[in-house]
């Protein structure tokens, strides 16, 4: 397929349709409205189902209903709406039903604002809803990755029977970039577990209520084994100019793009900076950070929040390196110049310290 020029919000939708998504349920919220609008027109053209729900809560529960029938299904929202969806995400995890949830993050807490932010990292990576579960979280940093990761998210969801979140932000949703879409997916594995009426077979039920505590514990540990498998197979990250680096930036999504520009800038000044960019936020690529910390002592974590992913970096490094955090919450998008100054400063400190 040829390259086309498209916004991130539209790309989420087009990639979902190509991944075989045939049902979308959502409620309008800025800055992701174009995604629902795109689905209302184009998903229905592709033979799918579109319902504008009365609330995000209803939308995610419609997702549960459609997913239980074996349909590839998606919902999308932005931060306040994602909070409302947490009930259903917990049920999806408990039922072991696949679904894709797009979060185009904005400033918070509360209504916050409609500018790009990364304040939902904790909510996304820690499960978000009640109970003992994890949600795989993919963090695109370009419209091309919006397309690729949304497509990929449907496969993770189906393969492991789990809700999967694609975590973007207002910047990624609103900006337009050239994008090449994956082919229309045609072959899908049979979903033996899907409800379709009992037919001539035995009746089945999907329930997350497990009153027997021992059975509930078994269910919890079974989920853990599944999450371990996801961590083994699906953890992804990008290393950028890390070979000779003395300072490592850690950033994801929009912030990683800005950090890349900052690294290119400081390298012209002779500062050997590099970056590890988590692509999956859960499972978190902690091992590569631990490995990198054998040779590198300074990690600079950039986020558009007051410091959330930095906790995962701290856990991963286990005290092995110096961690510096620089964040801009509230919808402020930092500049490459701003990050460059931090990288330059931390490199200076590092060289002075080691002299």
């Amino acid at each position: 397929m040829n390259k086309i020029f498209m916004s991130g919000n539209h790309a989420f939708g087009e990639a979902a349709i190509r991944a075989g998504c045939r049902a979308y349920f959502g409620y309008p919220i800025t800055p992701q409205n174009e995604l629902g609008e795109y689905m209302s027109e184009n998903l229905t053209k592709a033979g799918g189902v579109f319902v504008q729900s009365e609330s995000e809560t209803a939308a995610i529960n419609m997702v549960v209903g459609a997913s239980s029938m074996g349909t590839r299904v998606m919902t999308s929202s932005s931060s306040p709406g994602i909070s409302l969806k947490q009930e259903g995400i917990s049920f999806l995890a408990g039922f072991q039903l696949p679904a894709v949830i797009i979060n185009v993050m904005r400033g918070g807490p509360g209504l916050g604002n409609i500018a790009p932010a990364q304040g939902d990292y904790f909510q996304a990576t820690r499960g978000g809803g009640h109970g003992d579960y994890r949600t795989p979280v993919l963090a695109p940093a370009s419209v091309q990755e919006v397309a690729d990761f949304t497509y990929w998210a449907f496969d993770i969801a189906d393969n492991y029977r789990t809700p999967v979140m694609v975590l973007g932000d207002g910047m990624l949703g609103q900006m337009k970039e050239p994008v090449v879409f994956p082919e229309m997916k045609k072959d899908f594995a049979e979903k033996e577990w899907a409800l379709k009426g009992r037919g001539d077979g035995p009746s089945r039920y999907l329930a997350s209520l497990i009153l027997d505590v021992n059975e509930m514990e078994r269910h919890n540990w079974m989920l853990v084994r599944k999450y371990q498998q996801i961590a083994r197979n699906e953890t992804r990250w990008e290393e950028f100019m890390t070979e000779d680096a003395k300072v490592i930036a850690v950033a994801y999504g929009t912030t990683a793009r800005i950090a890349k520009a900052a690294i290119k800038r400081v390298r012209k000044e002779g500062v050997p900076a590099g970056m590890i960019r988590p692509i999956t936020l859960w499972p978190f690529p902690g091992e590569i950070m631990k490995k990198t910390s054998k040779n590198i002592n300074t990690f600079v974590v950039f986020e558009m929040s007051t410091g959330q992913m930095v906790e995962d970096v701290r856990i991963a490094l286990e005290g092995d390196a110096r961690i510096v955090f620089h964040g801009r919450p509230g919808g402020v998008v930092p500049t490459p110049m701003e990050f460059a100054r931090i990288l330059y400063r931390e490199y200076e400190r590092e060289t002075k310290r080691t002299k």
């Binding site: 009365e54 809560t57 379709k196 089945r204």
Partner: protein, 252 residues
């Protein structure tokens, strides 16, 4: 000799009920199971059951079942029916589920005229959690959260949600019945049959509200609770067909 009252095909055998003596759920479950067989729906039916006493309905109904989050039954049923319009999808919900926490889902699924059927068990109380006030609790009725009786000054009035949705153009059939005796049980079966047929005929949304006894939480004997439905509860919630637009829909 022909057995006059055989065990319904879609009603599980050899299970011990978890419902209390005199509870109405077992009666309505049996009616559903009988209709699944009589209307030949059991093989393609999906029942969305609620959070509440009927959360364990899959122990008894031998059809495909999807457990719902509290109040979200009609949203889940919407998702299921929209992607599989060939299946027969119905919800089975209580008064707390359908008319308190799930009010928005109830009203909007009805207003969209989703092609689903809703069985609404109204026993004027939260059963599973131990007898707290429900939206349908009668004025003056004592519950564990209205110990002096429901007082409209603080607790509001009984909510007539079936009457409300019956006014929507997309709601094709709505009826209120009561399982308060043999005649009421027969009428209930007829009403649920009409509701199910509405979906089978592709006409739209249907809902049957069933006034149902909860002797345990009403602190009554089963017999007293049947009489209470007849003498008291059905005065607040009058029985009858609330809307029947099947003719209009067929003419369209």
């Amino acid at each position: 000799m022909k057995q006059l009252n055989p065990w319904p095909r879609y009603y599980k055998k050899d299970v011990v009920t978890h419902y209390c003596p005199g509870c109405g759920h077992g009666i309505v479950h049996r009616i559903v199971a009988e209709l699944m067989e009589e209307m030949d729906l059991g093989k393609k039916a999906v029942c969305v059951n609620p959070a509440g006493c009927a959360v364990l309905a899959y122990l008894y109904l031998d059809i495909d079942m999807l457990e719902s989050a509290h109040g979200r039954g009609t949203a889940m049923a919407t998702g299921a029916k929209r992607v599989r319009p060939d299946l027969f999808v119905f919800t089975y919900q209580g008064d707390g589920d359908l008319s308190a926490i799930g009010t928005a889902e109830t009203i909007h699924s009805a207003n969209r005229g989703e092609h689903i059927s809703v069985i609404f068990i109204n026993n004027a109380v939260y059963g599973m959690t131990g007898g707290q006030m429900a939206p349908t609790t009668l004025l003056g009725q004592k519950t564990t959260t209205t110990v002096s009786g429901r007082n409209p000054r603080f607790d509001g009035y009984p909510l007539h949600i079936t009457d409300l949705v019956a006014t929507f153009p997309g709601v094709i059939y709505a009826e209120r019945v009561a399982v308060n005796g043999p005649a009421g049980i027969q009428r209930t079966k007829k009403a649920i049959r009409n509701a199910f047929q509405t979906q089978v005929d592709g006409l739209g949304y249907s809902i049957v509200e069933v006034l149902s006894p909860c002797p345990t939480n009403w602190k009554m004997t089963p017999r007293q609770s049947f009489d209470w439905i007849t003498d008291v509860m059905s005065k607040e919630f009058p029985l009858g067909v609330l809307t029947d637009k099947r003719q209009r829909s067929e003419e369209k």
